[in-house]
């Protein structure tokens, strides 16, 4: 049985950075967005620790703001380092996903067998 969580572990940081790059956001909203995209198994216990890790690495910066409708929130935005990391991640994901897709479709073997 494929370990989905293990595969997701390597991709989560990149996905989180991509969503943050679209506009500053807070952890609870980010979790909800990831669930809507299709990562239904992700919860706050996975996403918030990732945000701690990304902040410690300097890829995101955080600012606590009071919300007019309810609790205070810690808003995250990308740093320059985070943008560079996201660029590299996107490039790498594009390369890897192309290769994996090709393998899954049996592309090379079908080429070799001709």
């Amino acid at each position: 049985m494929v370990d989905r969580a293990q595969i997701l572990k390597g991709l989560l940081d990149g996905c989180i950075l991509k969503i943050i790059s679209q506009g500053e956001t807070y952890g609870y909203r980010l979790t909800s967005d990831l669930n809507e995209y299709g990562f239904k198994e992700l919860n706050e216990g996975s996403v918030y620790p990732s945000l701690i890790r990304l902040e410690k690495k300097g890829l995101v910066s955080a600012e606590t703001k009071k919300s007019s409708i309810g609790p205070s929130r810690k808003y995250f935005r990308l740093t320059l380092q985070g943008e560079a990391y996201l660029h590299d991640f996107s490039k790498l994901w594009s390369e890897i996903s192309t290769v994996v897709d090709q393998i899954m479709k049996g592309g090379i073997n079908s080429e070799l067998s001709r």
Partner: protein, 276 residues
């Protein structure tokens, strides 16, 4: 799951009761020592009562912070607050994690989710995922250096007190004011056995969610310092007394005193490094 959030309060109240019982036993069995023990007893009981007051005040302050949350979220937050204290993480990281968890709980309660839904039914695992990004649970190495700093701190404090009490800080006073084997052995056991056992018990209590009478198990390690105090005072047997009261020439020279202080600072530095 039921969450309690008051391990340290139970511990403080239980310890006060144990100390009071111990003092009553000492008074009953050593009537000659009553005058000398009265002041000491008063100080010990006062410190114990103050520790209950401080524990209760801290509990109240933390509870006020989460007073707007539903009850089960409040209690879970208090449990997380205590559990995080058993990880070697810096104060800054601890405050950061607690702020994030409070944010999660506030939003989740507005969405009318349950606590178990938020933490996945496993408090220890939920807290681990946060703490692992910033530190680690108290390793044997951390407990050892912390115990060493406690032990040396105790001994240096008593030594300094005894020397100052003579009225002059001289080489003669440093040499003459010795520590007894009984006191040194007692502090050794308190530092290297009692403290780690208590820390691990608090951690176990929060992770396993001990309920009601189970929480009284937290008091078991307290029998060590209370029992040692009673033994040092009550034992009258000449053979035992000759061992307990035998002087140990610790920190009897300026060099050994400086060495002790250096080792103490080294141990304190290592505990800080463990928190990074």
């Amino acid at each position: 799951m039921n969450y309690q959030g008051n391990n340290k309060l139970v511990l403080s109240i239980g310890t006060v009761l144990l100390i009071v019982v111990a003092l009553l036993v000492i008074f009953a069995t050593t009537p000659d020592a009553r005058p000398a023990l009265s002041t000491l007893s008063g100080i010990i009981v006062l410190m114990a009562v103050l520790s209950v007051v401080f524990a209760y005040e801290k509990y109240k302050r933390v509870k006020e912070r989460v007073s707007k949350l539903p009850k089960d979220f409040q209690m879970t937050y208090l449990d997380i607050y205590e559990l995080l204290g058993t990880y070697t993480i810096s104060k800054f990281d601890r405050q950061n994690i607690l702020a994030m968890i409070l944010e999660i709980f506030e939003h989740a309660s507005l969405d009318q989710r349950t606590v178990d839904d938020v933490i996945g039914g496993n408090l220890a695992s939920f807290v681990d995922s946060f703490a692992n990004e910033t530190g680690k649970s108290q390793s044997p190495g951390y407990l050892f250096v912390y115990s060493t700093s406690l032990f040396l701190g105790f001994l240096l404090l008593i030594k300094v007190y005894k020397v100052i009490r003579t009225g002059s800080i001289t080489l003669a006073a440093l040499n003459n004011e010795t520590l007894d084997i009984g006191i040194v052995a007692a502090y050794f056991i308190i530092s290297y056995v009692f403290f780690p056992w208590l820390t691990l018990s608090i951690r176990k209590s929060t992770r396993q969610q001990w309920q009601g009478a189970q929480k009284l198990r937290l008091l078991i390690p307290m029998f060590i310092p209370v029992g040692l105090m009673m033994a040092l005072i009550i034992i009258n047997d000449p053979a035992w007394r000759s061992i307990i009261d035998r002087p140990l020439p610790l920190f009897a020279s300026p060099l050994s005193l400086v060495l002790g202080i250096l080792i103490l600072f080294g141990a304190l530095l290592l505990t800080r490094l463990h928190q990074r």
